[in-house]
Symmetry: C2
Subunit: 98 residues, 2 copies
């Protein structure tokens, strides 16, 4: 099972993610980001790619979609907070959105 | 452009949808439903089918997904409330979830 990030890995990982637009979620050990696309097809196409990766990782986002916008929250429910899985999935989401 | 449902068509349409688990959204002329599936793959598979239909209709849901659960809100932003488009999409969502 994934373990919560320790202080050192957390700072290192979060610094990078914050630069790419992720931010902490108030009141939860979680991160969030809003992704905007040019159309619904682009937005859902990205979600489809992420969904396949998430299923392979057995680690799934909380996300919502309205037309071309997708809001994502990542945390590891089993661990009660952020783990390596969230950092990995966040980076893959960013890479697929480029 | 789609027009808001009049009182008669609204009652007729909503009665049927309420029987299948849809409910009005507080403070908005919109309807909502929670869909639960057996797995993330089933949930996202259903979303993918709905996404194609929504794009064909040029009418898109507000929806969020956490693992095997999908929460949907339907309204027609252009019309400022519920239209035939929402009723049609709601029925197609139900049919695809069976």
């Amino acid at each position: 099972m994934a373990e919560k990030l320790n202080d050192i890995t957390r700072k290192e990982a979060l610094d990078g993610l914050i630069k790419s637009g992720w931010s902490p979620v108030d009141g939860r050990d979680a991160i969030q980001k809003q992704f905007k696309f040019k159309s619904f097809v682009r937005a859902f196409g990205w979600m489809s790619s992420v969904a396949i990766i998430a299923e392979k990782m057995n680690h799934h986002p909380e996300w919502s979609n309205v037309y071309a916008t997708v809001n994502v929250v990542l945390t590891t429910h089993d661990a009660g907070g952020l783990t390596d899985l969230d950092v990995t999935l966040a980076r893959k989401m960013d890479a697929l959105a480029q």
